[in-house]
Each structure stands twice: as structure tokens, then as C-alpha cells.
Symmetry: C2
Subunit: 268 residues, 2 copies
Amino acid sequence: MGIRAIERAMNVLQELNLQPINTIAQLHARTKLPKPTLVRILKTLEDAGYVENDVREGGYRVSALVTSLSSGFHKGPLVVEAGRAWAVAITRKHKWPTAIALPDYDGVIIRFSTVPDSPVSPFHSTVNRRLNLLTRGMGLAYFAFLEGEEAELITDVLRRSDDPENALSHHPAELARLVRKVRANGYATRSSLVEPRNSNTIAVPIIAKSGKVLASLGLTYFTSAFSSEQEACARYAPVLQSAASAIADDLERLSRSISIEDDNPAAV
Amino acid sequence: MGIRAIERAMNVLQELNLQPINTIAQLHARTKLPKPTLVRILKTLEDAGYVENDVREGGYRVSALVTSLSSGFHKGPLVVEAGRAWAVAITRKHKWPTAIALPDYDGVIIRFSTVPDSPVSPFHSTVNRRLNLLTRGMGLAYFAFLEGEEAELITDVLRRSDDPENALSHHPAELARLVRKVRANGYATRSSLVEPRNSNTIAVPIIAKSGKVLASLGLTYFTSAFSSEQEACARYAPVLQSAASAIADDLERLSRSISIEDDNPAAV
DNA sequence: CTGATCCATTCCGTCCTACGGAACGGCAGG
DNA sequence: CCTGCCGTTCCGTAGGACGGAATGGATCAG
């Protein structure tokens, strides 16, 4: 068993990263910690410079110094590095948060998200969150564009899964129809069968010049902001597609001009 | 006064970010904490998943989860996002760590560094570190390419400083000569008058299409790895220059294709 | 093989400090 | 004015963090 105060502080810090601004009441509800304890922890983090108490906004937020807690960690695949700038740019222009997800066995894991840059995020920061391949927009955008042996391999793995979100894998015909539809559209959206219902995600694959599907790029919006899913897709799918293609270009340029031997896409 | 255990844990976590691998003895020396206390703190962080005890390497290192402690913080200028991929690519190819620094009043601040990706870094992670404009490679690469009013303004500020590292600002003729040399070379290096002596940094400016100097891109190497500074510069200056120019291109493409209203380069 | 040295880790009794219920002051709405 | 909700402060208590000393390896010298 570890030091309780530290465990608590780390949890609080994680929670703080999930929203641009956090009130004591919210943190109290999410962490189940007594308010005085929260105040004490936040004061400690504030003194240390990791947290700011924004009285105007009425809450606490992480400050620039938190980067020093993770500046020593990298080994992110190059596609994430190449894609960040585009993800940030889209969010600056269109406000909605975007994210980049990388394959991880029978799912994808979000490796970068612009939630903190988005003034209107339906979600909290979702970095390191795992998404299923068949029901989630970013999972499906990856899965549907897989080809040949790789596609079969993953399909087999999914078939063996008893996760309800992978249920579609037991209905090959329907699955094939879904894949065809996604490929025809050039983008995927989150299944209407899974939570949360008040938002949706539009996602496209990032495909290397070699044809290999590297990752997916997604944008999440409040459903209430549009009259229909079609409207949102018509607006953002082209943006995402051109960004995904630009990311693939950038990767190509990166490897050509600097000539990288091999970008190992090993996850984690 | 805050909670001591938390303050200590945060310090330990920061220290862990400064080196790829950290032994208890090193941490003990750097943090002045008793070893049992360190072990307890590290065990706590390990249980929570932020730290790994790599028995093979004989020490502790930060793990992927630390990113969740800062994933909520962004507001980084687009030039850093655009430059990351290139910095990472250079380090993967040439091994030496690279960094991107942004202007901050009378200095520059390192906003991104590939130290964790470098197997041979002379330095520890240097994110958020401030560098002087006249003696440091990355500072000088920025300063020397400033033009017109902006250059005069900063020069005035420097002249009013009594920081020994800004001493050159009191000798306008020598300063002008240095600036001319840097401009002619197209890159800057760290002054041989300042520490540390066992490494050096080669840096180039990142200049937007508009002509505005946005940032500097630097590479740091052990002096002992080359027979002369010339040799290292001949090898890496062109690499850095082409990367800097590519970053400017990327920025241009980012803003053209997504058409961002205004990239506010405000630092922290 | 023995003894010395250095290291990370565990023990455990002491003391302190983190804890949280209760109280407080501020604010908004009724 | 009162009521409800908020963030913050108080303060007596008790449980947990603390660190010196002991332990268990690993490495090296003789």
C-alpha cells in the first residue's frame, strides 16, 4: 500500500486534466474526496505551481508546469507527432475537439486529443482511452480500411471476443455491409447503439503512402448542434479527409527528407 | 504550507523526468530525501502506474501514464506542434536530442525537447528551461535573425540587463559582429564562455513565410564526439536548416488549408 | 572463500501531520 | 429575510508517514 496523500493528489491531478476548469464541487463528486481534503491538496499543488486557482472562472485548472511531470516521456510514433499540428489546427478553426487513435490489438487507443484546446468539448480529455473497433467512430475508421491478411486476423480476434460492443463480429454479413458503407463514405461514425448519445464522432483513417492504415483521426461534436448526422458529416468529413491525407503527406516528407529507417509503430 | 508528502512526490516525479533511468542513490543525492522515503514514494507512484521499476536497468523511470498528468494542457503555439515531428525525426536519424525554443521577453524558453527519445543526450530534459539570447545557441539563433524595430527593442532590453550572460550587449560593435557572423553562417552555437563545456548546441531560426522569426530549433551533442566544432556544424547545420524551412512550410500549409484566423504565439 | 563495500529494500516504534466533520462567510434566488 | 449551495477555514484526533537501523543482495579485492 502506498502513501494515501500522494495517490489522492495524483487522482486529483488526473481529474484536473479532464476539463478546462474544475470546481471543488465537481472534483468532490468525481473523486469522492471530502472538500477540505481537496482544498488542501489543491493548495499544495498550487503552491508547487502545477495548478492555478482561476477565481474569475471560479475553479481550478492545470498550469503550464504540469508538462514538466511528463516531459521525460516520449517514444510516441511519428504519425502522432505529424498529426498533432493538424488536429490542433482543425480544433482552432472548427472548435470541436479532435483526436488521433492508434491500433492496439483488438481496439484503438487515443494517443492525442485537442480537448484542452476546444471551448466546446462534449468530452473530457480522453488520452489513453481505449475504443472498440466496431462501435466507435475512431475504431471503425481504422478497422474498415484494413486489407488482406491483417483484416482477417483482427476479424478473427473480434469473433472470439464476448464484449457486447464486438457483437457485430458474429454477424459477418452485416459486418461486411457496414465495412462497405464506411469505405464508400470514406469516414465512420460512432454506432448509435452505444453511449454517449448526446455526442457523436466522425472519423477517418490515416493511410500511409504504402497503403498501410496507421491510425485514425476523429472529431467529436454535440449532436444537438446539428439538425442531422448528415449535416455534420457533410461539413467535417471533407475537413478530416484532407487533414488525414496531409498527415500522410507530411509523414512521407519526414521520412524522405530526413530519411528515417523505420518508424516503429509499436504501441505503448 | 502544503502537504509534504505530495510536494516530495512531485519533486521526485520531476526528477524522474530528467533522466531516462534513475537509481535510488541518484535521486537521493538530487532530492536530499532519505532513501526509505524515496522507496516509499516510488512504490506509491509505481502502484499508481506512473513509474516503472526497471530491474534490468537497475532504476526507476517514468511510464506512459505520466502523460495523463498533463494531457489537459495545451495552448502551445502552432509552431511547436508543427515542429515536433521534425525534431523527433532528426533525433531518430541522428540520435542527438533536438529542441524547439520560443521567445520569451529577453530570452527563449524550451518548449519541446526530444531528450527522452535520444539514447545519447548530454543533457536531461530541458523543457521549460530559459536560455539567454546572446550566449546560448538557441537564444542567439533567434536573436540574430530579428529585424527592424523588434531587434532594437530587444537589444535595448538586453542593454539594461546586468545578467553576466548578457554582457555582450554592452559592446555594440562586438555584438554586431557576432550577429553578422551568425547571419552569414545561417546558424548559431553556444558561446564557449558558458557552461556546460562538454556539450555544444547548434541552432537555427524558424522563420515564417512572412519573415517573422517564430522560434529556434537546436541540436545538442557531446563535443567529444567530433574533432572540431566545424565538423559538427558542417554535418548538422544543413539538417537543421532544411528542417526549419520544412517547419515553416508546414505552418504555411496548415494555415492556408485550414485557414486559421490568427495563431496567437503568446507564451504561457 | 572471506571480508569489505555499496546498493536497494524492509522493519518498526515514534511522532507528527494529514484528516474531515463542523463551522464559517459569501453569494444567488425566492 | 431566509434558504440553499458554494468554497474555505478551524481544530482535535488518530492513523499514517517518517527515517534510523537492520537486512539482503550484488560486486569486488585479497
